[in-house]
């Protein structure tokens, strides 16, 4: 195993942000006890909602399949503890759009009985890669870095590309969040073995484990484990502590020095990126037959009494988790699910912890920023943008709803990291503007496709009517023609036949 290396590509812009992580990493991971009720939304992943396969009143065991995603883009959902299904109904959730979503609600019986696991199974490196991938599909595993893309489908797509590197993302660049840090400290073995599983499934020879340089304990622990495993396919790579170097495309740029083409995936340039939490989930499923029913979350901010990292069951209400770590403080004002840069503000702490919840952030009131002024074209936003966009120009075109201009300046490439917001001296909410502009552009694009389809159908119909009319008039012409040429003889024929008939009668 080689020593951690720094040889990196370059990343433009980014910001050095205060970490706020030391409070939550000071103590070990604690496990939240079984709550009274588990609330499991059926959409905890990118793609179509999962279909419930249980009915109200049914008793389920921990790890039992309760919603399936056969035949669509998604991941199955498993019960996080044993109990009884009491409802399948809308409930407040922390999704970005809209507030209530359909959820399966389980009343827990406290016994936490699990489904019986298969007695003996072959070691993962003796399974053919395709079998391994299909098995991952059934574990309900999604990207735990926050993007929640169904992992099995991501891996299957990756298999169709020529891959050079597996990159494990342990960077965790956003302030306050430290769940991946403590995961790497306490479960470094699972991270390394999980990496081996993935390398076998995708037939890869190199794996970069990327960690920010401000996580010395995690680096040390991983280096130890990698030394014990003695697998020189695993390489530890240290990344400077700059937000947002943990973004997928940014990490590919840093570690492989390749730019992911606009609108395409890292697999197109030979890199597969997986969050370390996802890798541990894969390990737990393949080795221990435990589907994804719990995750580590950072509960932090000056609004909680004791910032901690907790392992909580998927579906545990956030209020229960906060109570477990010591409750709110007097200054608690905002509840944010996710980090301070990319998280979502929620007003109801009944929302459940879902597969995407990497942080529960309770903050006191933010200091008020000054009034929003007009853009003075200072260019600070460009100098911090990791994608090298010109946010001031995007802002100009977004205000004008100019779709062509937005496309030309690369609005679709904006990763919504929020660096430009922080850099702007005029307090312009740039990222929010870009999200709205993206939404408008999507709406306009879909309207355009609908209009295009309607136009094509209209033209096709006109074509058809014209053809039919043409055919009819041709037919008519032919009949007239044959009537004219055959005329007198035919009429005589008809008359003779009539005469014969009347004579016969």
């Amino acid at each position: 195993m080689s020593a951690p290396t720094y040889d990196l590509g370059k990343l433009h812009g980014g910001l050095r942000l205060p970490g706020h992580k030391s409070a939550s990493t000071a103590q070990p991971i604690r496990t939240v006890p079984i709550p009274e009720r588990l609330i499991l939304p059926i959409t905890q992943h990118v793609g179509d909602p999962a279909q419930p396969v249980v009915g109200i009143g049914e008793r389920v065991l921990k790890g039992q399949l309760i919603a399936t995603s056969e035949g669509s883009l998604g991941a199955p959902i498993h019960a996080s503890s044993s109990g009884r299904i009491v409802a399948i109904e809308p409930w407040p959730v922390s999704r970005r759009h809209g507030d209530n979503a359909p959820c399966i609600i389980i009343e827990c019986d406290g016994e936490d009985r699990a489904v019986k696991t298969v007695e003996s199974q072959p070691l993962f490196d003796q399974l053919p890669p395709e079998v391994l991938l299909h098995q991952i599909l059934r574990g309900g595993i999604v990207g735990l870095g926050g993007a929640v893309f169904p992992t099995a489908q991501k891996l299957m797509q990756a298999r169709t590309c020529k891959l050079d590197y597996l990159i494990l993302n342990g960077v965790e660049c956003e302030p306050y969040i430290s769940c991946d840090d403590v995961l790497m400290r306490e479960h470094a073995v699972e991270v390394a073995v999980g990496a081996q599983i993935l390398m076998h499934a995708l037939q890869l020879e190199t794996c970069y484990i990327a960690i920010e340089s401000d996580k010395p304990e995690a680096i040390h622990r991983l280096a130890e484990v990698m030394g014990e495993l003695d697998d020189d396919r695993l390489v530890l790579k240290l990344v400077p502590t700059i937000y947002p170097s943990g973004g997928e495309n940014q990490l590919v740029q840093l570690l492989a020095n390749r730019e992911v083409p606009s609108g395409r995936l890292p697999t197109d340039v030979g890199c597969l990126v997986q969050n370390v939490g996802t890798v541990v989930a894969i390990h737990d499923w393949i080795i221990n037959n435990e589907p994804l029913v719990s995750r580590i979350t950072t509960v932090t901010g000056d609004g909680v009494a004791v910032p901690t990292n907790v392992r909580a069951r998927i579906g545990t209400p956030v209020a229960d988790i906060i109570e477990f770590v010591g409750g709110y403080t007097d200054v608690a004002e905002q509840l944010i699910i996710g980090g301070p840069m990319t998280g979502k503000s929620v007003s109801d702490d009944r929302v459940p912890l879902v597969k995407a919840t990497n942080c529960i952030l309770v903050l006191s009131a933010s200091p008020t920023t000054g009034p929003e002024l007009a853009c003075i074209r200072c260019g600070d936003c460009y100098s911090v943008c990791p994608v090298q966009l010109l946010p001031q120009q995007l802002f100009w075109y977004a205000c004008a709803d100019d779709e062509k201009g937005l496309r030309r300046y690369g609005l679709t490439d904006c990763i919504e990291c929020g660096c430009c917001d922080l850099a702007c001296p005029c307090n312009i909410p740039l990222t929010a503007n870009f999200r709205r502009a993206k939404g408008r552009m999507q709406k306009m694009a879909s309207e355009k496709t609908r209009a295009e389809r309607a136009r094509r159908r209209f033209e096709a119909r006109n074509e058809r009517l014209k053809r039919e009319q043409h055919a009819r008039s041709e037919e008519l012409g032919r009949q007239k023609e044959s009537a004219r040429t055959a005329g007198p003889a035919a009429i005589a024929e008809i008359l003779k036949r009539k005469q014969d008939k009347t004579e016969a009668e």
């Binding site: 002024l373 003075i376 260019g379």
Partner: protein
């Protein structure tokens, strides 16, 4: 941010007052008054809160630059016209801060130059040790600013002198050599006496802005390159009939332009490459006007001409977006 620009200009302001008398202060007061009044009036007319526009100090910066551009002996109505035109027409009629195409201070100065050619060229001689030039008292300066009339014993000819740039330009065109012109006691070490010290203090403020990252280095470097490289070239080819690059650097508004005027973010180009091209273009035009034009100093016109080119420069120097094909490879 604009406040920092004002702080950076203070050393230069003090030097100006030291060498040319208190007229600068009166001009500054008049310009500030009319710039602020104009801005407040326009914000009212546009149905917006006047306070928020005034709070960013941009009107005062405009006033300061106009004051630097004018001779220290200027009647108040000249300064007022320029200030009002700068703020009302060049800034607010185009949309206010962030939307103006042209640098408001330079528009104001050009209006003065064209509407009041006599007053705009009535420069005073700098304070110089033992040379016997008329130097007005504070009260006499104030009287002139308010009424436009000099004390009885003095005439304009006695009080005013051509600027070093002006005398250099007319001297060279009258076929005097550069060396002869440099022998004049009005000339200092590089530029004109007194003028070059103001230039030094402007540079001090400019470097402070650079260190504080309030301005970026591309525009100043571009202006210096665009001005000094042709100047050096011409001087190397024919030293007798051209002023040296050092003279160009320390005379007139070169340093003020490089650090304070051309760096106005709203009217300049945006991308780093674009800013450098914008700076070089400004420098080239300044040299062209000084060498072949009829005005002694071309900073104002050069800046306005490059303001016109900014959108085109921006369009052509869009930076490479990560993940897009590099232009030229498509």
């Amino acid at each position: 941010m604009m406040r920092q620009v004002l702080y950076a200009l203070m050393p230069a302001a003090l030097a100006h007052v030291w060498y040319f008398g208190p007229g600068f202060i009166f001009n500054l007061i008049v310009a500030s008054l009319f710039c602020v009044a104009g801005e407040a009036l326009m914000m009212r007319v546009r149905n917006r809160a006047a306070k928020s526009a005034l709070a960013d100090y941009s009107a005062i910066v405009t006033a300061a630059l106009i004051a630097f551009a004018l001779p220290s002996l200027t009647p108040w109505w000249v300064t007022a016209t320029g200030s009002l035109f700068a703020v009302v027409v060049a800034k607010h009629l185009y949309g206010g801060l962030g939307f103006n195409v042209f640098n408001p201070a330079m528009v104001g100065y050009v209006v003065i130059l064209i509407a009041f050619p006599l007053h705009a060229n009535l420069w005073v001689a700098p304070r110089m040790g033992d040379i016997d030039y008329q130097f007005l008292t504070i009260l006499q300066t104030l009287t002139y600013t308010l009424t436009g009339s000099l004390p009885d014993a003095l005439s304009f000819d006695a009080v005013s002198r051509a600027t070093p740039l002006d005398s250099m330009q007319s001297g060279l065109r009258n076929l005097l050599t550069y060396a002869e012109l440099r022998a004049n006691p009005m000339m200092g070490d590089f530029g004109g006496h007194g003028w070059e010290w103001i230039g030094n203090f402007v540079a001090l403020g400019g470097f402070w802005l650079l260190i504080k990252k309030i301005i970026s280095w591309q525009i100043p470097l571009g202006v210096f390159a665009g001005l000094l490289i042709p100047a050096g070239l011409m001087y190397a080819i024919d030293p007798g009939t051209h002023a040296s690059p050092g003279f160009h650097l320390f005379s007139g508004a070169t340093i003020l332009c490089a650090f304070f005027i051309a760096t106005d973010p709203v009217s300049a180009a945006t991308s780093p490459k674009g800013r450098f091209i914008y700076g070089v273009g400004t420098g080239l035009l300044v040299y062209a006007i000084r060498r072949w034009g009829s005005y002694a100093d071309g900073v104002a016109f050069a800046v306005l001409l490059m303001n016109m080119a900014s959108p085109a420069i921006d369009y052509m120097t869009r930076p490479h977006i990560v993940g897009h094909a590099r232009r030229g490879n498509e």
